[in-house]
């Protein structure tokens, strides 16, 4: 009798491999799930609930958005259910977050007429509106149907003016004062009329900005806080206002997407815990592009030499081992090298030769986006070298010989046959390099990342330091990875920063994903074009 079912040796190990994969997938899914859930949740406009609380025999009122529920062990070892409430109104309460013990809550209505106001400073305001007071004494009550449209119109007007003032002070006056500094440094008498004219212009612009600022205070919103206090706020400090408990599903979704858009497109406020992260997105993106532009040519020419021209032997083998080891060096080491070499040596020398009139104020002799990109390029170049070498080695011999047999030189063969056929492999290297480079934080902290960069590294101004017009490679920049670190560990208000950490992380993941997908799509297109089949 033959055995009906035979167990093949090693068959059970297949389960082991499948388990490994499943655990890996589960971990990735959990990671994306957690970041996605908390990150997306930040933008969803939640209801504001008013709590009437009885504590120590006294009743008090507080309104806010429920952040989380937790259970704490009390002084006598008994468990206490608590909810964490975002109450806003930081300047009045001292803290924007508060814990309420669940047993002390007597009533929890959701008032329809409570207003949530986003502000320039001190987080949100959560209060009942009383009236809108204009400069001439004209008032509008909330039960007036024109109240909400008027409030929004005025907020928009104020916001436009705020942008105008920002543009005036940052760009116009900034440009003039930079020019003034240059003229004053050169100390030539012939510049005197020009200096006078610029000073005159600067004074005019300052006066204009002051005038605009004054108009910002024309309207005031009077409110009653949930605790009963009455307050007045100039619209200058307010950004947006809405009734969170009156929103329908559609309006809530609309606000949700508007929140996402604002987060991705605005400047940060209040030590980064409010507002958007546009400068950090831009900084990360631009630095990654710069890094790619530096790492690809460098890696590819190195790989070509190693694979095509160098005589294969113990020397090349040890160079290869060294390159592979370079990929394993901790990234902070590269940061230290970047400071020592790029900033203190290359940058300082550039300053000596080209910008000596500005010294001791450094131009390139300090951290900047160029040095950060080059440092990361150095860190990721081994990946590109290895991938390119493999791609070159994978070009079939037939293609190489066919080209040489046509009378092409070695360099022509490399340039016309081998490199095009290796492009997909090179892009694979670039994808790996970008994935590592875009998420790196530690070396950047040494070579140019800052918590808050006043301007983007590309804008409409043409500075005398620019190598490429409008691109300020010497400037410091913001980076999503560092932003997360800064929010999570350096923020004065960790409760307020926590949602931002998740949202920023989500955006960092998305950015890396977008960069990688672009490279992958490019690679697939090129692979179809340059595929050497038939071999």
């Amino acid at each position: 009798m033959l055995p009906i079912r035979q167990r093949l040796p090693g068959e059970s190990r297949v389960w082991l491999t499948a388990m490994g994969l499943s655990i890996g997938l589960a971990m990735v899914a959990t990671l994306l799930g957690v970041v996605g859930w908390y990150g997306i949740g930040v933008f969803w406009p939640k209801r504001v609930i008013e709590y009437r609380v009885l504590e120590d025999g006294k009743t008090s009122q507080v309104a806010g958005v429920v952040v989380q529920r937790r259970s704490k062990i009390g002084t006598k070892g008994e468990p206490i259910e608590e909810i964490q409430l975002y109450t806003g109104n930081r300047e009045t309460y001292g803290l924007a977050f508060r814990y309420l013990a669940v047993p002390s809550i007597k009533e929890a209505p959701t008032p329809q007429n409570i207003l949530l106001v986003e502000r320039v400073e001190n987080g949100n305001l959560i209060a009942y509106p009383n009236e809108l007071i204009s400069l001439g004494g004209q008032t509008v009550k909330p039960d007036d149907p024109t109240f909400t449209p008027r409030l929004h119109a005025l907020l928009e007007e104020v916001a436009d003016r705020r942008e105008e003032i920002y543009a005036l002070e940052r760009h116009e006056i900034g440009k003039i004062s930079r020019r003034l500094n240059e003229l004053r440094r050169s100390k030539q008498d012939s510049d005197a009329p020009a200096i006078a004219e610029l000073e005159q212009r600067s004074t005019e612009l300052s006066a204009k900005a002051k005038e605009l600022r004054k108009r910002q205070n024309e309207h005031t919103l009077a409110v009653t806080l949930p605790t009963g206090e009455k307050k007045r706020y100039s619209l200058e400090k307010l950004i947006d206002a809405y009734y969170p408990n009156q929103l329908g599903t559609m309006a809530r979704c609309g606000r949700f997407f508007a929140n996402i858009w604002n987060f991705a497109s605005q400047r940060p406020r209040e030590s980064n815990t409010e507002g958007g992260i546009w400068p950090a997105i831009f900084g990360t993106f631009f630095m990654t592009i710069l890094m790619s532009a530096a790492v690809v040519p460098f890696g590819v020419i190195t790989a070509i030499y190693l694979r095509e021209y160098a005589k294969q032997g113990p020397m090349v083998r040890s160079v290869r081992i060294a390159i592979n080891n370079l990929a394993g060096v901790p990234s902070i080491v590269f940061g230290v090298f970047g400071v020592g070499f790029f900033v203190y040596f290359v940058g300082a020398n550039i300053d000596q030769w080209f910008f000596s009139n500005k010294l001791p104020e450094p131009t390139y002799g300090t951290g900047g986006i160029l040095w950060a990109a080059l440092t990361l390029a150095l860190m990721t170049v081994p990946v590109v070298i290895v991938a390119t070498e493999e791609a070159i080695a994978a070009v079939p011999r037939g293609a190489r010989e066919g080209s040489l047999a046509c009378g092409a030189s070695k360099w022509q063969t490399i340039q016309r046959i081998i490199l095009p056929a290796s492009v997909p492999g090179i892009l694979t290297g670039l994808i790996l390099a970008m994935a590592r480079g875009a998420g790196e934080v530690a070396p950047l902290m040494l070579v140019g990342v800052v918590k808050l960069a006043p301007t983007l590294t590309i804008d409409g101004t043409w500075q005398s330091e620019d190598l490429i017009p409008f691109v300020h490679l010497h400037q410091k920049f913001m980076h999503l990875g560092f932003h997360i670190y800064d929010l999570g560990f350096q923020s004065p208000d960790s409760d307020a920063a926590r949602p931002m950490v998740f949202a920023t992380t989500l955006l960092l993941i998305l950015l890396v994903l977008v960069l990688n997908l672009t490279a992958i799509l490019m690679r697939d297109r090129l692979r179809r074009r340059f595929a050497i089949s038939a071999f």
Binding site: Q312, P396, G398, A399, R400, E401, G402, S403, L404, A405, C406, G407, A408, S409, Q412, R416, I417, P420, A421, R529, F530, A531, I532, S533, A534, F535
Partner: protein
Amino acid sequence: MTTMTTPPAMRPNTPAQVMPISSRDNAAATVDAKGSISIRDYDFFYGKTQALFGIGMEIPARQVTALIGPSGCGKSTLLRNINRMNDLIDGISHRGDILIDGKTIYNPHLEVTSLRKRIGMVFQKSNPFPKSIYENVVYGLRVAGVNDKAALDQACEQALRAGALWEEVKDRLEASALGLSGGQQQRLCIARAVAVKPEILLMDEPCSALDPIATGKIEELILELKKDFTVVIVTHNMQQAARASDRTAFFYLGKLIEYDSTLKIFTNPGQKQTEDYITGRFG
């Protein structure tokens, strides 16, 4: 079954002196047309392994010379030395000399690329570049620095006609060469090789990966090509050597055993080993 072509001896452009050349014969080259190859006392080594032993051959211009012999007998090695394709391999060395039209190919002042422009090569596996048909054909001209559109167009058509491929691809010159069939790809490679107007065409088993119909087309093409080129073809196919070549050289274990007119080799071989191989007793 295949049809025999005209017996080689009756061909009009056979040189006057066709003499049997023994493996050690150092007779001076007879140069009457461009593209004659003269191999003198040629030894070749891969590292310490000797692959060719004292080869001496006069390959006349404008004729088809077939190199036959069992696998590993050195015929491909010899072919790849004529255009110095073996230079790519590390640790090779040689003794003796190879002359094209009386001039050595090992002249240190000679650019190997200019040598390869004079000697086209077609490989065992078709190796079109991942470019358009047009760009494949004009590749040799482009690397030689020709960029004039009209000249390239003309050369492309000429070469594709010479490769008997023009009628099939004239409407899709911009299509990828990789979309062609195996036989078409091989003819494209022949067209690519002749586009630079070489004097000599080396073919390393050009039909080994093709079906009989494609093989027939390439053989017809070879007969056509010998009007303009000296053709040296390595083949494992006895019938192909008999059909397409004027002269045949039989190699065994790195030595040239017999080299004579194809008719003689196939009807009345001078050596026992040749006869055994041709009749299929070994190999």
